[in-house]
Structure formats: structure tokens, C-alpha cells
């Protein structure tokens, strides 16, 4: 199998043997171990939990540790790997995630307990309540940046908060223990916030965890529209 990798000096080409159940991350690791020891890439858990291994695989952002080569290799047998889009490249396949997480905090991504103190007792939130369900729907985000790399608005407007940050904000808006609702809704209501989203659903389409950031953003739009701050 032919593997093309975008490296600092341009596109580099490698040949790797195809194996059964091989993941894209396996291929990159094999190249780094046996052919190009200076190839920079990132991974940690290898089981879809840490969110560090995302890359553009044949033009689509994916978590590489859970992506089987057989599912994504081109008809011509070529695998083309590039660093995640919409983020500054540090080296080879490694991107700087700082702008991505900086936007999480700008979108009010931190939990703020009501009255400023965490109560001594556990809060009881009925699992079946609609708000709990909304929060649940977005809570499994691993911060991989796949949605962020798949969004046009992020590439058009450098300030746009992006799907993951607003998915997080929506989760907290639905958290009845949270005390920063109004400020958070203000933070996501600006020009770089939810109203800039075109509902193209690239984020929802590509999120490896099956989350629906597009739906979360629609929820924010709705909440602000009806003045439920």
C-alpha cells in the first residue's frame, strides 16, 4: 500500500505492507519505527479515549486509532495523511491544539457552581429529565478536534468558536447545577458564536463519538431566540 504523508518539506511517500485489521495509526507508527524516525505525530490511548490522534485521512478528518485502513483507503490503494485542518501545524502531522481549547474557555466551557460553592451533598439530577438528556447527549466529547477541522465557518472566520466549544457550552447550559448560564449564553451569542453556524452538519457527520454539535448549536440558537437566558 502506498502512503503519502504531508511533512514539513512537502509530501513524502512510503510503502507499507497491508495487514489484517490494520488501523491508520498502525500504519503511521510502522512508518515512524521502520522508515522515518523523525516523523512527528501524536497519539496516546490507541483506544478512542484521549482524542490526540486525529488527522486528515484521504481528505476527511478522523481519529486514526479507531479507523481501519480497509475502510478508508482509496480505490487506487493510496492512503493520504495530512495534519488536521483549521489548526496551525507544529511539525508534520502534529497540530497546535491551543486555539481550539482556548475557544472552549471563551465559550464558557468551565462549570461554575451555583452561588460559587460546590455543595457538600451530591446533586440529584433525574436521569430522565429533558435537560439531563440534552447534557448527556454531548458529554462524551474527547476533544479530538475532528469537528473543528471539518467546519467551513472555522476556516472562514478565525474567531468562530467552533462546534466542540459550543457543544460543551450547550452541555453546561443544560446542567441544572451550573450558575453561569446567562454569561455563557452571552459568550456564544456574538458574531463568532452560534449565529454564524450554517447548519451544514459537517461536525455532526464526522464526530467519531457520534455526538451532534450541530444540534447543540441549534439548541443554543433556540435558547437565545426565545430569550430563555
Amino acid at each position: 500500500m502506498k502512503v503519502r504523508i504531508q511533512r514539513d518539506g512537502g509530501m513524502a511517500e512510503y510503502a507499507v505492507a497491508a495487514r489484517a485489521s490494520q488501523t491508520v495509526l498502525d500504519v503511521v507508527t510502522e512508518i515512524q519505527r521502520e522508515q522515518a524516525p523523525d516523523l512527528a505525530y501524536r497519539f496516546a490511548c490507541r483506544v478512542g479515549m484521549c482524542g490526540s490522534c486525529a488527522m486528515e485521512v484521504n481528505g476527511v478528518a478522523r481519529w486514526t486509532c479507531r479507523t481501519h485502513v480497509s475502510r478508508v483507503v482509496g480505490a487506487d490503494g493510496v492512503l493520504e495523511l495530512r495534519p488536521l485542518a483549521n489548526l496551525p501545524v507544529i511539525r508534520d502531522l502534529v497540530t497546535d491544539m491551543a486555539p481550539f481549547f482556548e475557544k472552549w474557555s471563551r465559550a464558557g466551557g468551565q462549570f461554575v457552581p451555583k452561588d460559587g460553592v460546590v455543595p457538600a451533598e451530591f446533586a440529584v439530577v433525574p436521569p430522565a429529565s429533558p435537560q439531563r438528556r440534552e447534557a448527556d447527549a454531548g458529554i462524551e466529547c474527547i476533544g479530538c478536534g475532528v469537528c473543528y477541522a471539518s467546519c467551513d465557518i472555522v476556516s472562514w472566520n478565525a474567531d468562530y468558536l467552533g462546534p466542540a466549544a459550543m457543544n460543551r457550552a450547550w452541555t453546561l447550559v443544560n446542567d441544572e447545577r451550573d450558575g453561569a448560564r446567562a454569561g455563557r449564553l452571552r459568550a456564544v451569542a456574538g458574531d463568532a458564536g452560534c449565529h454564524s453556524c450554517h447548519s451544514t452538519q459537517g461536525c455532526t457527520e464526522r464526530c467519531p463519538k457520534g455526538l451532534d454539535p450541530s444540534g447543540a448549536i441549534a439548541g443554543l440558537k433556540r435558547t437565545i431566540f426565545w430569550g430563555l437566558a
Binding site: G59, V60, D152, S199, Q201, G202, T204, E205, S214
Partner: protein, 111 residues
């Protein structure tokens, strides 16, 4: 290149493109109506031109554009106001089908 190969994105593009095309058509529309200012004869003269099959074709395109834009708008409203989520792909298909249906109905009507 950014990854845009999924139905929901095509839905967005169709909605946007039909909107732009309709906006471009508007001046023409007003100009035609403006012919009435020059008296009934002028308008009638123009409208006779419109009987040409080419115009019927263009008219059909216009109806499809309108239907596409309407359906696209309904789709976005369903997503954003009603919070529909998982049926998004079907929605795009339904919108396209709706536009196609309106186009066909118009053709039958003309024929």
C-alpha cells in the same frame, strides 16, 4: 481542501445557490413588471415573447429554484427550531424530492 462530501452539506449548497439565483432573477422580474408603466401594449408585447418554449423552460427552472429554496428553508427551520437531529439526511432527500415534484407538476401543467 475542506471535507464537504456529505448530504447535509449538499443541502446547504443547494439552498444557498438557489437563493443567489433567485436574487439575480429579481431585477429581471421587476423590469418585466415595469413594462406595464409603458402601457398595456408594451406589457402584452413582452408577454407574447414569453410564450416562446425557451421561456417556458426558464420558467420551469424558476419554479424548481423556488421549490428548492422553500424546502431548504423549511429544513433549516426544522433543524434549528424544532431541534430535529437524526433525520437530517432524509430531510435533505425529502427537500430535493419536494423540489423535483413541484418541477414535474409544473411541467405537466404546461404540457
Amino acid at each position: 481542501m475542506r471535507d464537504r462530501r456529505h448530504p447535509a452539506y449538499w443541502g446547504f449548497v443547494l439552498h444557498r445557490a438557489s437563493g443567489v439565483a433567485l436574487a439575480l432573477f429579481l431585477p429581471l422580474h421587476f423590469w418585466a413588471l415595469g413594462q406595464a408603466i409603458h402601457g398595456a401594449a408594451a406589457l402584452d408585447g413582452f408577454l407574447r415573447l414569453v410564450d416562446h418554449p425557451l421561456f417556458t423552460l426558464a420558467e420551469w427552472g424558476l419554479v424548481v429554484l423556488l421549490a428548492l429554496h422553500l424546502a431548504g428553508g423549511l429544513r433549516v427551520m426544522a433543524l434549528e427550531f424544532l431541534g430535529w437531529r437524526h433525520r437530517q439526511k432524509d430531510l435533505v432527500a425529502a427537500s430535493a424530492g419536494f423540489a423535483f415534484g413541484i418541477g414535474m407538476m409544473f411541467l405537466l401543467h404546461v404540457g
